[in-house]
Amino acid sequence: MKILVCVKQVPSRDAILRLNETSQWIQERDIAYEVNEPDAYAVEEALRIKEKLGGEVVILSMGPERAQITIKDALAKGATRAIHICDPKLEHLDPLTQCRVMAEAIRREGFDLLFTGLQSDDNGFGQTGVILGELLGVPSATIAMAVEIQPDGKTVKVKRELESGWFQWYELPLPASITIQSGLNQPRYATLKGIMEAKKKPIQKLSAANLGFDEAALTPKQHVEKVYFPVKNKKTEIIEGSAKEAAAKLAAKLKEARALV
């Protein structure tokens, strides 16, 4: 089984964020980064399948130079090797263009199973896994809480998380693209031995040009106008009247604010 896991480096959850000069993104200097949370679960799930069925786990990450540490972390945990698509031209692309670049690298590599996190903790588009599935012409399943390769080795059963505690089991033919939800396993620590062994594992570096993308092909289909911190406007309203009247007024207000349906 050859499993390709897409891993993204994102600002760490407790990083103190500041806006950049143009207010179009955050200041990227001086903050800590970490692996996108669901991606860590995707790596773990892939490693468990590899340990059971054999094969290899290939990490694919698109991101700047600093993303190396995130790749090395996955290698230290047991992934076989990695591909790092690293090119300043590829920063801040829209999801589709980004996926086109990644899909090209994935197509060249080949895979039985493609894992991504269900969304990234920074942009949160939640599109990468499904767009990749589409571009690569394979079926996709999203928000996976369990992944079971069937004994025939040709299909995979996926437990999808629906709303209000409901789940759905789904069977897909391989190869397939699956987006992984956080919490479906308990990710391991990288052992110190693993960290040292990872130094010897190959990380193939690819640029946009390597993958056949020129300036024109990378023209963004969308761009960020402005980012800003949520505006806090706290309003206190005192509801007058008897307890019964006040309760009725409160209920009406909550309905109006769609807090109560």
């Binding site: 090395k72 230290a76 052992t191 110190l192 031995k193 960290i195 040292m196």
Partner: protein, 391 residues
């Protein structure tokens, strides 16, 4: 709040990815496995022996030794960061790892035969076996050259007599690296591997400690212990041998102390920002800010001292006096930071609801073992003046 370390000088940028990953692994282990239980262990005077195998699995035991013996083959700075993070949890846990790695596995690797290495190192690395290091004696602490423990040649080995004091891990150890004078070799000091269960060997625990309560400290007693020939460390000879081990351990302590200091400092900072007196957080008062300014400066200096020492060690250039300087400065720094942090917490600072008093008590031992603060002063003094002032 999750522990994030202290890095005022962007020292992280001087570390490799592997060093950072190593640090993060140990930090995570300490956060999830040690921090939740350690106050209770300390109070009950219990070493959490159940964590030893986990520490082994992660590779925290003897991490600088080569992979062929089941170790990680880490660099010196990465090893230092392991000590730092472990001691952020508790000096007793770090002591356990220091003894196992630097004082037991290192001498077996350095002075041992190939059979001894193959027999002991993989098991010690996995945490399946525990070791201890017996140098100090009841009457010879700072002056180990005066030791009374004796080994006498017999037909198939050695006869060991004497006693050791203040031995970390003693009671729980499967193997003790014991230093003794060999009467038949002109009283030369040699190392022996004394296995648990050897007739005439006992290791009673020392009780009623106010410091390092989550670590086992013991006496070792040898009464006509028969040690087979294959258990002498063939490469050992002279006081230099145990001192080489101490250099390894002291280096780790120089880093470990930074971890204890970070734990106290970050606790005090969080507390000072939340604690309101006179309608303001106490962190807003200049007197308290002066304390933080001093503490962060001292921690940062200690980090740079340890880091450069590590880089020198990686090039094989660190001298014993340089190691003394880092051990001496950093432990004294940590003790000072612990005491200052304690004042910031007021009454709360003396309770087990916060880690500071535990660290402070622990650091009293760290200040004394592996060469007291005073002895390191004399080592540095001897280095710069060329005059030995020990006696």
């Amino acid at each position: 709040m999750k522990f994030k370390g202290v890095d005022f000088y962007n020292i992280d940028s001087l570390l490799t990815d592997e060093e950072k990953l190593t640090r993060d692994t140990v930090r995570e282990f300490v956060e999830t496995r040690i921090v939740p239980i350690i106050e209770d262990c300390y109070e009950k005077c219990r070493f959490p022996i159940e964590l030893v195998k986990e520490m082994g699995e992660l590779g925290l035991l003897g991490p600088t030794l080569p992979a062929e013996y089941g170790c990680a083959g880490l660099g010196q700075v990465a090893y230092g960061l392991v000590s730092q993070e472990l001691e952020r949890g508790d000096s007793g846990i770090r002591s356990f790892a220091s003894v196992q790695g630097s004082l037991v596995m290192y001498p077996i690797y350095t002075f041992g035969s190939e059979e001894q290495r193959r027999k002991w190192l993989p098991q010690l690395a996995k945490g399946e076996k525990i070791g201890c290091f017996g140098l100090t004696e009841p009457d010879f602490g700072s002056n180990p050259a005066g030791m009374l423990t004796r080994a006498k040649r017999t037909r198939n080995g050695w006869l060991l007599n004497g006693s050791k004091a203040w031995i970390t891990n003693g009671t729980i150890a499967d193997v003790a690296v014991v230093w003794a004078k060999c009467e038949d070799e002109g009283n030369q000091i040699r190392g022996f591997l004394v296995e648990k269960g050897t007739k005439g060997f006992s290791a009673p625990e020392i009780h009623r400690k106010h410091s390092l309560r989550a670590s086992v400290t013991s006496e070792l007693i040898f009464e006509d212990c028969e040690i087979p020939e294959e258990n002498i460390l063939p490469g050992s000879g002279g006081l230099k041998s145990p001192l080489m081990c101490l250099s390894q351990a002291r280096y780790g302590i120089a880093w470990g102390a930074i971890g204890a200091a970070m734990a106290c400092y970050t606790t005090a900072l969080e507390y000072a920002l939340g604690r309101i007196q006179f309608d303001r957080p106490i962190a807003s008062f200049q007197l308290q800010q002066a304390k933080f300014a001093d503490m962060i400066t001292e921690i940062t200096k200690a980090q740079l001292l340890a880091l450069q020492l590590g880089r020198l060690k990686e090039q094989g250039k660190a001298t014993p006096a340089q190691i003394s300087m880092a051990k001496r400065n950093n432990v004294a720094m940590a003790l000072e930071v612990a005491r200052t942090s304690r004042t910031i917490l007021g009454g709360n600072g003396i309770t087990a609801d916060y880690p500071i008093m535990r660290h402070m008590n622990n650091l009293e031992s760290v200040y004394t073992y592996e060469g007291t603060h005073d002895i390191h002063t004399l080592i540095i003094g001897a280095e710069v003046t060329g005059i030995q002032a020990f006696r």
